[in-house]
Amino acid sequence: MRAGMIVLVAALSAVLVAPAGAKTVTVMMDNVAYVPVNISARVGDVIEWKNVDLVAHTATARDKSFDITILPNKTRTLTLKKAGEFDYYCKFHPNMTGHISVKP
């Protein structure tokens, strides 16, 4: 029952915020790491970074195609516009690295 509700709410919010079929992938910033480290998505999908750490972090693409700062207890999103393999890291803590694989 509860699972059904969550699916329904998720489906409704997907309709409200994104084109049909697009999904949101959540990446936590926790204990100076992206969790999960590797994600895959499609063009049009949304990546949502949730920072639950003590300090601000960034999601900065090595190829500079995105550079987002996320303060503690904040969430920021990025809509994927092009396919490709994107390595990214935190400018403040370069020991934090992640990867997004974007399919067309």
Binding site: N31, A33, L54, V55, A56, P72, F92, H93, P94, M96
Partner: protein, 178 residues
């Protein structure tokens, strides 16, 4: 030279604690949680003071951004540490390691105060690399293993990851001035 002396003194103090620990004895040299909390807090304060000096003296964009980050992150970790010792009803206890850290970095700032422009920027960046290295190895080898309270240990572990990030970031900044 000063920095090497400071690092050696710091390491020596920590080694004494570590040696007692390795023997499994609980001699007077082993650091307790109140001392460990004091050391971690003092290390943060020293880097905040270093950052304030850099913000006063430097016009370099990367140096200033790094210093802002140090202010922000070390304050966040120290605030969390203060809240934790309050919750645990522990009074941080001053000790020789804390004194060596505070004096070492105060001496360093006195040395850096005489420098200007690019010479200051380079010296600040180099000191941030060396200082984070020293503090991180102390956390890894002595402070974290010696901490007995699990919440203190966990905060130190999170701190270590954040400061390892600072060490790498400092290395990138320092590389510009080579």
């Amino acid at each position: 030279m000063m920095l090497k002396l400071f690092a050696a003194a710091f390491a020596a103090v920590l080694l004494i604690g570590g040696a007692a620990d390795a023997q499994g004895t609980n001699s007077g040299a082993k650091l307790n949680d109140a001392q460990i909390a004091h050391i971690a807090y003092t290390a943060g304060l020293a880097d905040i003071a270093n950052a304030r000096q850099a913000l006063k003296k430097s016009k370099n964009k990367d140096i200033r951004a790094f210093a802002q980050e140090m202010l922000r992150d070390h304050k966040a970790v120290n605030d969390k540490a203060l809240a934790l010792v309050k919750k645990l009803k522990v009074t941080p206890q001053n000790n020789d390691t804390s004194k060596a850290i505070a004096k070492g970095q105060a001496d360093k700032r006195a040395e850096l105060a005489k420098l200007k422009g690019k010479a200051f920027d380079k010296a600040y960046a180099d000191n941030e690399v060396a200082y984070h290295k020293t503090v991180n190895s102390a956390l890894e080898s002595t402070l974290i293993p010696s901490a007995t309270n699990p919440e203190l240990k966990s905060l130190l572990e999170t701190g270590l990851k954040i400061f390892q990030g600072h060490e790498q970031h400092a290395e990138h900044v320092a590389a510009e001035f080579k």
